[in-house]
């Protein structure tokens, strides 16, 4: 399986994935919604504020991570995670998703972004954290903090959290969870460019 960033010229792969299965979790998206979303992605990719990380098997996409970059606060935001078929059990899809998360973490860390936000129901967060940590190199190197709980059928009221969500969640509350690279993994990264920095471990 090959995992890489795709460019604005390769967004047909995103369309391909929605053509196979237009659902995200239990919600089905219309072709118009998907087209609008792809335009939104194109704009972000061209402005370098969006990344689409995709894994391929035999040339066909099997999963994607869509992340937004908030340069002003050095933070990434995962707006969407999708596997080719939503019916696949997470124990299987986690193995597909982990390489993309790992690539995302590496790209963010190279940029000096040590925080990444993800939104999901608390249950899905926990399933991911439990299962994907077993097949991801990087997920276990992050602590997490719940930032906001957005009640079902509502927006958070915080533009930052709402802008890149595809829709309001009608099934459950959504937790915005911030993943924070642990201090021990930051120290070597910060030392690379700042030899005078000593680096102190926190008490976590």
């Amino acid at each position: 399986m090959e995992t890489r960033e795709i460019t604005a010229d390769e967004l047909h792969y995103v369309k391909f994935m929605f053509n196979v299965d237009p659902r995200i979790e239990k919600k089905t998206f219309t072709p118009e919604q998907i087209d609008r979303f792809i335009l939104h992605l194109k704009d972000g990719l061209e402005k370098h504020t969006t990344m689409v990380l995709m894994s391929f098997t035999d040339g066909d996409p099997v999963q994607m991570y869509i992340a937004y970059l908030f340069e002003k606060i050095a933070t990434g935001y995962v707006g969407l995670v999708k596997t080719i078929k939503t019916s696949v059990h997470f124990k299987t899809s986690a193995r597909m998703l982990a390489p993309a998360f790992d690539l995302l973490a590496e790209i963010l860390q190279e940029r000096g972004y040590y925080k990444v936000l993800m939104t999901a129901s608390e249950r899905n967060h926990n399933i991911r954290n439990l299962i994907m940590r077993q097949c991801s190199t990087h997920l276990g190197t992050y602590d997490w903090y719940d930032e906001v709980v957005i009640p079902r059928n509502e927006k958070s009221g915080v533009y930052f959290y709402d802008i890149n969500r595809l829709s309001v969640n009608t099934e459950s509350s959504v937790v915005v969870r911030m993943f924070v690279l642990k201090q021990e993994y930051r120290i070597p990264l910060l030392k690379k460019s700042n030899p005078a920095y000593v680096g102190t471990l926190n008490a976590n």
Binding site: I73, Y145, D146, Y197, T200
Partner: protein
């Protein structure tokens, strides 16, 4: 005064985001304006309480590494501040600005010392208490240890 700085930096559609961050900047400002020979813990503790009322659960401080490490002792001895943990975010070399906009707010360029930027995060256990009090019907609250 912070409003001017906010508008100066955030001129695009991030306006609500900037409002969220504004109070984190205030904390940043407190540290800069208090010289190292005076305890900032009581002021920071008051500020944290105000931030939490507004549902803001993190803030940044910038200072020399030594200063921030010394501050940790004050944090440990303060019932409010010891609910926070911290992570190093960036090092701003002397005479330079950070490439991250938020870390440059409310601070002057330091001509002498590198400045370490440290983010202080309210611990997950304390956040869970807060969110539980909001009575979300499907929020339990999970710490890492629960998953092991």
């Amino acid at each position: 005064m912070p409003i001017d700085r906010e508008h100066h930096v955030f001129q695009d559609s991030d306006i609500e985001c900037s409002t969220t961050l504004l109070h984190e900047f205030m904390a940043h400002c407190v540290a800069i304006k208090n010289p190292t020979n005076k305890s900032v813990a009581p002021t920071l503790a008051k500020l944290c309480i105000e931030l939490e009322k507004k549902k803001y659960y993190k803030f940044w401080l910038a200072g020399t590494e030594q200063f921030l490490n010394n501050l940790n002792i004050e944090f440990q001895n303060n019932d409010c501040l010891n609910r926070y943990t911290w992570y190093d975010e960036d090092i701003i070399p002397a005479n330079e600005k950070s490439k991250t906009v938020v870390f440059n707010l409310n601070r002057q360029i330091d001509n002498t010392n590198d400045r370490l930027v440290r983010v202080y995060m309210l611990r997950q256990e304390s956040r869970i208490q807060i969110f539980r009090e909001m009575n979300h019907d499907d929020y339990t609250g999970t710490v890492v240890e629960n998953l092991k």
